[in-house]
Symmetry: C2
Subunit: 206 residues, 2 copies
């Protein structure tokens, strides 16, 4: 008998949503455990000892196996499925967009969403306030790069819906909460609508 | 006849070194093309149109195929080799450390190396100066997490040398240039010595 898969998460987080969306497309049921990151529930001695020494969510668990890092968890779930192209070039291109998502997209687009819609602009500290112009510029550049890539293309890698689309969709479709205007990126908008219309799709707040 | 593989790079960058180190372990020759990022050589119209619209190095090229993102390039080179574990859990664990490297390690440890040893502390702008304490703290936390993980373990994933070790080695072994003290992380030191002693290893400045 296979042990259940448990997602340790904070439902608002796009990083956690990626994993739920991957599982939904694969028809894999996940048992969800919610943590309030604002009250330090992922920094308790119990969480650090038993779930993730890095004090972060999401973590995907099955039995003794614990896997932090959202994009690695999506990979693990999707191993052997059509969500990972088997062609060498397409697979590396998919990973290219997944690494780029963590380096250039999430730190700007996801962070501004949290700052603007959870913390609130008026409550930002001085360092956060000083970083705003650069994060806005870098986030807009990330959306522009996606928009250029999607001109004449349906999906990010290998001419098919893949994990690259799932992980980029997670924070892109809610980028307006961070102050971005998706109307400025029509190819991104069309792609996001396409993702949301796929059979098996679930919403962030589902 | 196979076309040559070309690495568009800036040799000082650990992200470029990762790809050279992966290729060295696989016995794959790379043709190296150097760009001076400080004078904008990766932001010229020609570079943006023909190499990478994101204006970044490294980019790995073979014929018409162009692959940005260092960790994706390592994956592409190593596809089908022993540098990528075939076991599902070990493979996802390897990717976990590779995503973590781009999110938690590089933005602190690599950035401080550049700020301290290329730009120079006296020449930092106000925003960079304000970020110093947080980047020092986050970089130290990243090294401590690696140190804890390596206690009682030889390699990062799957009980064998893999891409996770290569990509983490790149900026870790030169972390002192950014102000970190590797003596504080003895398991990291032992692991780095082990990586450097492997047959096929090449140095960053080779």
């Amino acid at each position: 008998m296979t042990e259940p898969m448990i997602l340790h998460e904070y439902a608002f987080s796009g990083n956690c949503y990626k994993i739920r969306l991957t599982a939904a497309h694969l028809g894999i049921p996940l048992e969800r455990r919610e943590y309030d990151i604002s009250t330090g529930e992922t920094r308790t001695p119990d969480f650090l000892a038993n779930i993730n020494t890095n004090g972060r969510i999401p973590v995907l668990q099955q039995g003794d196996f614990r896997l932090p890092e959202s994009n690695a968890a999506c990979w693990w779930l999707a191993t052997g499925s059509a969500l990972i192209p088997s062609d060498r070039d397409a697979q590396a291109n998919m990973l290219r967009w997944m690494f780029w998502e963590q380096y250039d997209h999430e730190p700007n687009i996801a962070v501004l969403r949290r700052w603007m819609s959870v913390i609130g602009e008026a409550n930002l500290d001085e360092l956060q306030r000083m970083q705003l112009p650069l994060k806005r510029k870098a986030g807009a550049a990330a959306l522009a790069l996606m928009n250029d890539h999607l001109a004449g293309r349906h999906w990010f890698a290998g001419n098919a819906f893949s994990l690259a689309d799932i992980v980029l969709y997670a924070y892109t479709h809610v980028a307006e909460a961070g102050g971005f205007t998706l109307d400025d990126y029509p190819h991104v908008q069309a792609w996001a609508a396409q993702v949301a219309a796929l059979p098996g799709h679930i919403a962030l707040d589902a």
